[in-house]
């Protein structure tokens, strides 16, 4: 009975999450369009729907209506596989996302490990997309993505290890509970937060680390030869990943669903779920906003500077952070 219930619950949760990715992508894209426009002293899209709210939605439908073109010399099997891999990596990682009390699809005890394992899969998708397209720009972009994402995974994960050591758990829910007791991780791990934010931007190919797409250098990187909904999957995955990274940052460093004041930081029952959802989305979208703000301001770093930063700055810093955190835990017996 439990097993059946578990399976049903899993099916329901995954369906809901999959259904959620599309509107999430729409909202994030709409934010990007609108916020960057405002920062550039433009109005941005304002014709479709009230205040142009449905601009990104019709963008999405436009992808459906476009011709799906596969280059003659492309490897059809892998070419069609790549968008799915990238998209599923983003969608699957949402499985452990702690939206609110009682609103976690799969509350693993190793949720953080699962998350970093799954989000890292997208690099495989980008690599095969770059290889399968039979295009020099795609190939360069795919190789860049491999180098960049593999490199940044290390400081990204190491910066979280500090959090894990401090919280003593690999479960998101428990980590949030720890933060309710001890205050947000932001206070304990400021360096870890910095490393995490930079590395997460690089991990999801956001400006200023959008080496993979790099439209003024590589046209569109691995996506160059993609069109129609196949490109749409890459496109959505990119923006869903932005939301996910913001959500995970919220969970790890900003107390997840907790309200910013101690009472009532958390409510019980269904009301508590809604209250938690409110705060979680509020915080997550704030970080999405910051990412968009960065995109509006910064030029792109160069690929060698990017790698240099990962290996020469972030990695030693993360190591140091881990060392100090572990030392502190040992010494003060936290």
């Amino acid at each position: 009975m439990d097993l059946l219930f578990g399976i049903l619950r899993f099916l329901l949760a995954t369906t809901l999450l999959l259904l959620m990715t599309i509107p999430t992508a729409f909202v994030v894209i709409q934010m990007e369009l609108k916020v960057i426009a405002q920062m550039q002293l433009r109005y941005g899209p304002n014709r479709v729907g009230p205040w142009g709210m449905f601009q990104s939605t019709i963008h999405g439908f436009k992808f459906l209506a476009k011709e799906d073109h596969i280059p003659d010399q492309a490897d059809r099997a892998t070419f069609t596989l790549a968008p799915w891999m990238v998209y599923m990596a983003a969608a699957m990682s949402m499985l452990v996302m702690p939206f609110a009390p009682g609103a976690i699809a799969a509350d693993f005890n190793i949720g953080i490990v699962y998350f970093f394992a799954v989000i890292g899969l997208s690099v495989v998708g980008l690599l095969i997309a770059g290889w399968a397209s039979y295009n020099k720009y795609s190939l360069l972009g795919g190789l860049r993505s491999a180098a960049q994402m593999v490199s940044y995974e290390i400081p990204l994960t190491l910066s979280v290890v500090g959090v894990v050591v401090l919280g003593g758990t690999l479960n998101f829910r428990e980590l949030i509970a720890w933060q309710q007791l001890h205050g947000w991780m932001l206070i304990w791990q400021p360096v870890g937060l910095g490393i995490f934010y930079i590395a997460s931007l690089a991990e999801i190919n956001r400006t200023p680390f959008d080496m993979v797409e790099a439209d003024s250098e590589l046209v569109a990187g691995p996506f160059t030869e993609y069109s129609g909904m196949r490109f749409g999957f890459f496109f959505f995955a990119e923006y869903v990943a932005l939301f996910i990274m913001s959500g995970v940052m919220t969970a790890l460093f900003f107390g997840g669903w907790l309200a910013p004041w101690p009472f009532p930081a958390q409510l019980e029952g269904f009301g508590g779920t809604l209250y938690g959802l409110l705060w979680f989305f509020l915080k997550s979208y704030m970080f999405v906003f910051v990412a968009v703000w960065l995109r509006a301001t910064l030029p792109r770093v160069r690929v060698d500077q990017l790698m240099g930063m990962a290996w020469k700055v972030l990695l030693p810093l993360a190591m140091l952070n881990l060392l100090v955190t572990a030392g502190a835990v040992l010494v003060f017996n936290l």
């Binding site: 916020v35 405002q38 920062m39 550039q40 002293l41 433009r42 109005y43 703000w293 960065l294 509006a296 301001t297 910064l298």
Partner: protein, 283 residues
């Protein structure tokens, strides 16, 4: 020593401030830009301040367009109906089916397409060969065609253009000047001379009398299609002013009464072929 990140923060402060700043975009269809007084990049050179069509269908643009991209139709300063362009494209536009496709009420075409009117290509080829296909003879060829058909059929012009290797716009432009007819006339054509000699010898009275007699204004065709009335500078009346021309015969000098009588006479014997008569009566 720069503090790393300070420059980035400076930029972010700028963009952040602009997030709230008033926007500079002009909302185009609602907010029309104020064009400078001297602005001359307007695309709507359609009507002049007097409400008249500015394009005079002079073909200069069409003649210089190397890819024949310009097609036009209208009435030029001579009052000729001119149209220029690929027949299939143009006729497709005028086609009732095209109207129907566009959701417009479809009416049968008033002026039926004549670009497919059959002409005697062998004869025309002979005429052109007779002139050695020299461009100097273009007007002569036009004259021959008009003599045979009563007007210049478009297909004939096209054949002339093709055979003589003269740009189509040039052929059409040349045909538009100098009294050639580009549309067929119906019935007997009464032409009243409008030259200075006739006008000052009483040509206006002649015209109004004939217009009254036939019940049509100059440039019109009577309802039964038997008579057309037009004016021309070409009758070259000189000493026989005021004069009129019925089909090919010139009559003059005439008084209004005589002109009415002439037409009435022709009307009576409408079925009978026009009999030959002296071109003029010496006074």
């Amino acid at each position: 020593m720069r503090i790393p990140g300070l420059g980035i923060l400076k930029g972010m402060r700028q963009t952040g401030r602009n997030f709230w700043a008033p926007k500079v975009t002009r909302q185009y269809p609602e907010e029309r830009p104020q064009m400078p007084d001297r602005w001359r990049g307007r695309l709507d050179l359609i009507y002049d301040p007097f409400g008249e069509h500015k394009c005079e269908v002079c073909f200069q643009c069409a003649q210089v367009c190397p890819v024949e991209a310009i097609d036009m139709s209208g009435f030029d300063s001579q009052g000729n109906r001119i149209r220029y362009g690929l027949p299939e494209i143009y006729e497709e536009r005028k086609d009732p089916n095209a109207y129907r496709r566009a959701g417009l009420p479809a009416e049968p075409m008033r002026n039926v397409a004549r670009w497919d009117e059959a002409i005697d290509t062998a004869w025309l080829g002979g005429v052109i060969d007779g002139f050695g296909a020299r461009p100097e003879a273009l007007i002569g060829i036009f004259s021959a065609v008009q003599e045979r058909y009563g007007y210049l059929p478009e297909r004939a012009l096209r054949l002339i253009s093709d055979t003589m290797v003269i740009h189509w716009a040039q052929v059409f432009g040349a045909a538009g000047l100098g009294g050639f007819r580009l549309l067929p006339t119906e019935g007997h054509l009464v032409t009243v001379c409008r030259c200075a000699a006739c006008r000052f010898a009483g040509g206006d009275a002649l015209l109004s009398a004939l217009s009254d007699e036939l019940g049509i204004a100059p440039g019109e065709t009577s309802n039964d299609g038997a008579w057309s009335l037009e004016t021309s500078d070409e009758v070259a009346a000189g000493a026989i002013a005021p004069a009129i021309r019925i089909d090919t015969m010139i009559y003059g000098p005439l008084t209004a009464v005589q002109a009415r009588h002439l037409v009435a006479e022709r009307r009576k014997s409408a079925a009978a072929p026009a009999r030959a008569r002296t071109a003029s009566r010496p006074s």
